[in-house]
């Protein structure tokens, strides 16, 4: 098994964090905000859940901590910024594909809206 499929299926929180980091590097609180916004408030990550996920994702190589920091006036030195890795991107894509397949099956059975 390659690195990507070994990690599948992704825990939902991990998938959300990868999505939040898709377009830009973010610090922890920004990830929380992004996830909350995108889910319309349905998923509000707690600090513990977030950092435990981050810890694991760092070990798995899905994300890295980046040393590039924003302009000093926007920065807070306590913050740490995270960036999605190539493996992270591939894994997120693979997970999306897996989910899409799943939805396709669900449609065939009439469990999900839309055409099979």
């Amino acid at each position: 098994m390659d690195d990507v499929s070994r990690l599948l299926p992704l825990p939902p929180v991990t998938f959300h964090i990868l999505l939040a980091l898709a377009d830009e590097d973010r610090h922890g609180y920004a990830i929380i905000q992004e996830v909350t916004e995108r889910t319309g408030g349905a998923l509000m990550l707690g600090a513990g859940t977030l950092y435990r996920s981050i810890h694991r994702m760092l070990e798995q190589g899905l994300i890295i901590e980046t040393r590039e920091r924003p302009a000093p006036e926007d920065d807070d030195e306590r913050r740490r910024y995270y960036r999605i890795t190539k493996l992270g991107v591939e894994t997120a894509k693979a997970e999306s594909k897996r989910l899409a397949e799943l939805v396709k099956f669900a449609r065939q059975r009439g469990f999900a809206p839309g055409r099979p």
Partner: protein, 872 residues
């Protein structure tokens, strides 16, 4: 904010160090937007759940790390697991025994309210005598302490069951209705005895069967009830069947018979035959009961001064009904096991420490790449925990396997299954033991290693005096505990030798015994015909040298004691004797020497003058320096004075027996207990009221293998009386060997403990010195380059080991003496300070030290100075 910071302490330190600040920042920003109540609710649940998960993550990681490490060093892993398993197996096993004997409630409802009652006679050193029936009747009416009292006749009554294939020899217990009411155990089917069954009026004769017997006869309990069985040629009805776990007074009982079967002679104040149990009334305490019964005892003493002078009433919780010897034995085994576990812990601590030092480069690297010291400690600690868990699991398995051996150490006086049961307490004990040992052997090395790891690259570890002192201290502790164990085992071993050297008074080789218990009510002529026929035919067998019968073989029954009235002697000086009825040739068969006069013989029939054979010690008691032959002894059979102690006035009412012979003394009560003098009477002259004493043990001396006679003997008995059950045959030698069964079990367990601890101590010394040598290779090289001889180096390391041993011995000797003093009840013929035992223990410990230190010392001495210095 402070509250949130405190909350973060739930996380592993490494996690907190990594993310704590950020988490605080996130929390601070949230606080600005969200309501306090919901914010805190979510923060607390988020923290608790994730902190637990983070700990589990780390534990998983550390366990993986541990297992990987073990795979890489299988030798170390096996040794460590083995040491942990031995240490914890010993304690878990010993606790299983302790739990079974001392902690678990007895298998009765509200068992803590059950007591045993005794007659005490401290003047005659009888703290726990059985109870005379008439006294018990008075206790019943006079006490205010018990909600019920029950009793059974102490000796087991051998019974014969016929009508189910081969006649079966069964163990019967004569019990009253109070016996079942007091224990409070309901029958599985049918009923138990009612008060009507205690008299011989009213209800028919019925018995209660053990579950085992009911199943073997009728497949199940329910269908046994109401059947008539053929028992000793009577036909009692089965009233009920007890549950399988009911084993009172012990496991060997097959059936319970009603009190009405006891001859009237038993209803006296002089014959102590009853074992009594009672249940405390709800408002009674042990203190109030003891006070109450003390009053009852005094009143009875005043009312019946002849019988009850000096007789008190002993109240003992049923759980504690065992000798101090049994109690000490169980506690000693547990204490020894704890000592062994401590040794194992010390060993593991040293082992883990040496390994941690060996991996210091790995640790240093890990610290360099950012692992905190806490992570290292945690990893090492997890390794200890895994080790302890594996050890505890192995310990449980060892305990499970060795339960049968332990059964020997369970006092037979306890009314329960002797095989110790594993229950939740044993399980909980194993868990606690794992936790405690983890702390004991895990914490110190983890801490030392982590401390050392920071400086390893500076090589200061070699000079770390404090850790070396700690490690040497552990080895000293191991040696000391080993010496204590060796002394304890040595003392017990010597006791065993002394016991085995006790002369039983008879010769066991070539003697076979067979029990054929005739019913008590058997008419005398039929009994005599049976003995005659069996003995004549047995003597006719080719290899048989001689054969005889006795009531109770030596060492099989401590009771059967009678007060002998002797003319010309003050009644207070009249001796108690062991009374046994024998046939001619019994003495010859069992090898008891006839010292003067003659054996009982065929001519001493029922109407001939009554004859008696006495043992030698009775002469010293009664007629020192005089010829006893022809003198008269008086026994209270068949006279009205059976009910009371005879006085000199009554002698004329008693039956006179003339001494015709003197034989050697026999250890009737076993090898360790002092026996009373023995009085033997002729079986043909057995008074009818003494049916219980009728000979039932056949002894046969043969040339060749006595066991080969078994089929022939069975056939002879069967032909003489087809309904007669037989138990045995067994070798007389086995009867004597059984005497030391408890000691042997004790010794096997404790010797195993001592052996293991010796091994562990040796391994510990070897490990410590090997470690020191490895650290000091350069130093040794330099010394040798400067002219030190190999012998000097050898002496240096062996000397170090011996210094540790001497310190260990110095610590151990006072401890060993204290341990020995506390177990004097287990010692026999040995003083707790026996010099030879101590000297041997010390020598063995020193030899072990020498053996353990030799190999590392030789390795040090064979260091090549040029190589090591170049290596530097």
């Amino acid at each position: 904010m402070l509250a949130y910071r405190l909350l973060l302490w739930l996380y592993p330190a490494s996690f907190r160090a990594e993310y704590g600040e950020e988490m605080c920042a996130v929390f601070a920003r949230r606080r600005r937007r969200e309501r306090a109540a919901s914010l805190w609710a979510s923060a607390v649940s988020d923290t608790v759940i994730n902190a637990a998960a983070a700990h589990i993550d780390l534990a998983r990681q550390d366990i993986r790390w541990t297992l990987r490490g073990w795979r890489r060093a299988p030798g170390f892993a096996l040794l460590a697991i083995g040491v942990a398993a031995l240490g914890m197996g010993a304690t878990t096993t010993a606790f299983t025994l302790l739990n079974h004997v001392l902690i678990r409630p007895l298998p009765f409802p509200r068992a803590d309210a059950l007591v045993a009652l005794y007659q005490t006679d401290h003047a005659n050193n009888q703290p726990r005598d059985n109870v005379a029936p008439a006294n018990l009747e008075d206790w019943r009416t006079m006490n205010r302490s018990f909600s019920s009292i029950g009793s059974y006749v102490a000796p087991i009554v051998p019974m014969t069951l016929t009508g189910h294939g081969e006649p079966m020899r069964l163990n019967g217990i004569v019990a009253d209705s109070g016996f079942f009411a007091t224990l409070g155990v309901a029958p599985l089917a049918g009923r138990v005895f009612s008060p009507d069954d205690d008299t011989d009026r009213g209800t028919p004769f019925g018995v209660i069967l053990s579950h085992r017997l009911a199943v073997s006869l009728y497949q199940d309990a329910a269908s046994a009830v109401g059947r008539a069985i053929r028992l000793n040629e009577q036909s009692p009805v089965v009233f009920g069947v007890m549950p399988p776990a009911f084993a009172v007074p012990n496991r060997s009982v097959d059936l319970w018979m009603p009190m009405r079967g006891v001859p009237a002679m038993a209803r006296t104040r002089g014959n102590e035959i009853l074992s009594v149990i009672a249940r405390l009334a709800p408002d009674a305490t042990f203190e109030s009961v003891r006070a109450d019964m003390a009053v009852v005892g005094r009143q009875l003493e005043d009312a019946y001064p002849e019988d009850n002078k000096g007789v008190g009433i002993g109240v003992v919780p049923l759980r504690e009904v065992m000798s101090s010897q049994s109690w000490t034995s169980v506690v000693a085994v547990f204490a020894a096991a704890c000592g062994l576990t401590l040794i194992a812990c010390a060993n593991l601590a040293n082992l883990l420490f040496a390994r941690a030092v060996g991996r210091r480069r790995e640790m240093a690297v890990r610290i360099a790449i950012g692992a905190g010291r806490e992570r290292i400690v945690r990893q090492l600690f997890t390794e200890s925990l895994v080790l302890a868990a594996v050890g505890a699991a192995a310990g449980l398995v060892i305990a499970l396997v060795s339960r049968r051996l332990l059964a020997f150490l369970v006092p037979s006086a306890l009314p329960m299954d002797p095989t110790p049961q594993m229950d939740w307490r044993v399980l909980a004990f194993a868990v606690v033991l794992a936790a405690v040992t983890t702390v004991v052997f895990g914490v110190a090395p983890s801490w030392l290693a982590a401390r050392g790891a920071n400086f390893t690259l500076l090589r200061t570890l070699t000079a770390d005096r404090r850790s070396n002192r700690l490690r040497s201290g552990l080895v000293v502790a191991e040696l000391a505990a080993t010496v204590v164990l060796l002394v304890v085992v040595g003392l017990l071993l010597k006791s065993m030798w002394v016991v085995q050297a006790v002369d039983p008074g008879f010769r066991t080789e070539g003697v076979l015994t067979l029990e054929t218990a005739l019913p008590i009510i058997e008419p005398a002529p039929a009994r005599r015909a049976f003995y005659e026929r069996v003995l004549t035919e047995t003597r006719g067998l080719p290899t048989v040298v001689s054969a005889g019968y006795i009531g109770f073989l030596p060492m099989t029954w401590a009771a059967g004691n009678f007060l002998l009235a002797v003319p010309g002697l003050e009644p207070t000086n009249w001796p108690s004797v062991h009374l046994r009825f024998v046939t001619p040739d019994y003495f010859k068969t069992i090898g008891v020497p006839i010292l003067s006069g003659r054996d009982v013989r065929d001519g001493d029939h029922q109407t001939a003058p009554l004859v008696a054979v006495i043992s030698q010690s009775m002469i010293q008691k009664l007629w020192p320096g005089q010829d006893p032959i022809g003198r008269q002894l008086y026994l209270p059979f068949g006279s009205q004075s059976m009910n009371t102690m005879p006085t000199s006035r009554d002698i004329k009412d008693l039956t006179a027996w003339t001494v015709v012979g003197v034989v050697g003394d026999v250890a009737m009560r076993g090898l360790e207990a002092p026996s009373l003098p023995q009085l033997y009477l002729h079986a043909d002259q057995l008074p009818d009221v003494m049916g219980f004493y009728a000979p039932k043990d056949l002894v046969v001396r043969a040339t060749g293998d006595p066991l080969a006679l078994a089929p022939a003997l069975r056939r002879i008995v069967h032909e003489a009386k087809p309904q007669q059950a037989i138990s045995g045959p067994r070798l007389l030698d086995d009867v004597v060997t059984e005497q030391t069964a408890l000691r042997r079990a004790q010794l096997v367990v404790l010797t195993a403990f001592a052996g293991i601890s010796l091994l562990l101590a040796g391994v510990g010394i070897h490990g410590l010195l090997a470690f020191m040598v490895s650290l000091r290779v350069q130093e040794v090289g330099v010394r040798m380059a400067l002219g030190a001889q190999r012998g000097d180096v050898l002496r240096m390391f062996v000397g170090h080991g011996l210094v540790l041993a001497v310190v260990g011995v110095a610590v151990a000797v006072p401890l060993a003496y204290a341990a020995a003093r506390s177990m004097t009840s287990l010692l026999f013929g040995v003083l707790p300070g026996d010099l030879i035992v101590y000297a041997s223990a010390v020598l063995v410990a020193l030899a072990t030290t020498l053996t353990g230190s030799l190999q590392p010392a030789i390795r040090a001495a064979s260091v090549d100075p040029t190589l090591t210095i170049r290596g530097e």
